[in-house]
Amino acid sequence: MNGAPELASDLAIDVSGLVKIFDERRVVDDFSLQIPKGKIFGFLGPNGSGKTTTLRMLCGLLTPDEGAGTCLGLDLRGQAPLIKRQTGYMTQKFSLYEDLTIRENLEFVARLYEMDRRAERVEEALKDLGLWGRRNQQTGTLSGGWKQRLALTACILHEPRLLLLDEPTAGVDPKARREFWDEIHTLAGKGITVLVSTHYMDEAERCHEIVYIAYGKLLASGTAEEIIENTELYTWRAHGREADRLAGKLRGKDGVASAVAFGAKLHVSGTDEAALEKAIRPYREGHDISWERTSPTLEDVFIHLTAGSKDNFA
């Protein structure tokens, strides 16, 4: 979507104008997205913004009410069964069978995709995963981190060309998350396209590009730097004695869009440069606090974007 227009054949996902309506609410509204093959796209947005609904439309679980497009060159409406064969979708909630063993789950998946050399491939996958020794253990007894890794293994078992991951790292510890992302990058290196929804900013920054959606509408897209640059947001950082205590005083002042404490530090952002300066002026002198201009973080930008968009469901 940035730079030179992509050739259609280089796009793994090419959809435009997607709309999904539930009970007269436009949960996804005029959503368009192009993702080149082999790229990792981060899908961000507040809870209930339509990320899961969009992912479900892309993998054929939901039929869009309006709009059209292709996944892997296949028509979203007419060729959903073919898209399913080449797509791996990891649901937000763990959705393998907890009362089946680890191996039974993977063999079930392998059979549904009518894979050849099933036993071998399942064995390989379990060995790569490090669960070969526990292959006959019931899946429900695994810890959250292991379940998440197993779920990823299950959805890449059939060697899909497109991965749709719905908050795959929610509730997973930092080390497991890092390993998970290393794996995602390895997969992308093999040419697999990944669209992953997340709430973690550090994960967003590990994506090639980011798509930001709120209340069903696409608000921003591009690389992390591009999104920060393109947003007209000015930020000051304060640190010093009890700088974080100022947050409550600054919030709601003219020119202050947000004031957020990070430990002892404070980030104050606003769209009007002059008004922002005016707002913080009273606290710049006579306090034991040093102020400096800084570029907003991705999180500042997203909170600003969310606040600025209207909640059409409210």
Binding site: R56, C59, G60, L61, L62, T63, P81, K84, R85, T87, Y89, T91, K93, F94, S95, L96, Y97, E98, V109, L112, Y113, E114
Partner: protein, 377 residues
């Protein structure tokens, strides 16, 4: 201060429970619906003293006496003449359950009567369900004394004899000793299959939705027919195990006769099981959770139990209840199971009931397939 009971906390619990109740429409519907169904069914539909039972009458002559006898029969209210057939047909009609009674008036009945030779009228009853025939058979004894009282007055010249002028011989076919188990145990096969198969399938699919595994399943390339067949087949096997247990118990514990072909019964059972499984599958596409699936099963099971003729004689019910009963697969299966085991029915005898089950099956499968979604829409 510690109190055993805080009204505020109790109030909090009460309000919370009422809120749950208000939101759970199926449970609420069940709490109101089940008593209503029971009221209607027990109050209006069920009658253990069935009247107007279909009767075939065969008489080689038509005289004032036979006409009076027939009129007396009808006047008891228990018999309704539906056929004036010959001997062969009478047998078949009893086997197929088309008539409950077959009455044969012997040749020369009128002559023997006048001669005081006490002719015998044969009444054959389909006694598979002793409850259905009990009252009617008692009523026959009354007829014996009074039916021809007026016609015979003065005919023989002799003063009225204390003994009746003719005799009625009752053959309780298929169940001569009026053993209730003969009727209940074969029927139980159908009842157990209905109960378990509808519920188990209902649960099997709803469980996928409740545990979130349905979303994953639907995102993979599996077809509705594959899901449905895959879900149903294991329970067909379970159903056969259940049927076998009941059959073995019927034969060895209850000494229920096994007159007909077990192979034929197995064939009929397949259709019956699939019909029930399709109902369960349909429920699972409507139910939001496993509890609702169980509740829906109950809504199906209760009328099946009461309207099929399992607990109460089918012919005792009013017309509307019989029409409802005819639609239910259990009604037909009961006739098939009792027919094959007790009467030794062959394929031709049960064909109509198999068709009744198949008609239900087609509708149920069509609804199940059309309701099953390959998407989450």
């Amino acid at each position: 201060m510690r109190r055993l009971l805080s009204l505020t906390r109790l109030g909090a619990m009460l309000m919370k429970e009422f809120n749950h109740m208000r939101r759970d429409r199926t449970t609420l519907g069940m709490m109101i619906g089940v008593p209503l169904i029971q009221l209607i069914l027990f109050g209006y539909a069920i009658n253990t003293d069935p009247k107007a039972l279909p009767t075939a009458i065969y008489s080689s002559e038509s005289t004032a006496y036979t006409r009076s006898f027939t009129a007396a029969l009808v006047n008891t209210g228990y018999f309704e003449i539906v056929s004036q057939a010959d001997g062969d047909d009478v047998d078949r009609m009893l086997t197929r359950g088309q008539v409950q009674f077959a009455v044969t008036i012997p040749p020369n009945f009128s002559r023997d009567l006048v001669l005081g030779k006490r002719p015998e009228i044969l009444v054959e009853a389909d006694a598979t369900d002793p409850v259905a025939t009990g009252s009617a058979i008692s009523a026959l004894q009354q007829i014996k004394a009074t039916a021809l009282e007026r016609d015979l007055k003065g005919v023989s010249g002799s003063p009225r004899e204390p003994a009746p002028a003719f005799d009625i011989i009752v053959h309780r076919r298929y169940n001569p000793e009026n053993i209730t188990q003969y009727n209940i145990v074969p029927g139980l096969m159908g009842v157990v299959l209905t109960m378990t198969l509808v519920m188990i399938t209902g649960l099997a699919v709803t469980r996928e939705r409740e545990r979130g595994t349905m979303e994953n399943l639907l995102s993979m390339p599996v077809r509705p027919a594959e899901v449905m067949l895959g879900k149903i087949t294991p329970y067909v096997i379970v159903g056969y195990v259940q049927a076998a247990i009941i059959l073995i118990a019927a034969a060895f514990l209850f000494d229920v006769p096994v007159e007909g072909s077990i192979a034929l019964l197995s064939l009929a059972t397949i259709f019956f099981m699939i019909a029930n499984l399709a109902v369960g599958f349909t429920f699972s596409t409507i139910a939001q959770n496993q509890l609702q699936a169980v509740q829906m099963t109950f809504f199906f099971f209760l009328p099946s139990l009461l309207l099929s003729g399992f607990m109460f004689p089918f012919r005792g019910m009013p017309q509307w209840a019989q029409v409802l009963g005819e639609a239910l697969p259990l009604t037909h299966f009961l006739r098939i199971a009792r027919g094959i085991l007790l009467k030794g029915s062959g394929f031709a005898d049960i064909a109509a009931d198999i068709l009744g089950i198949i008609a239900f099956l087609i509708v149920a499968v069509a609804i199940a397939m059309s309701r099953y979604r390959q998407t989450l829409d």
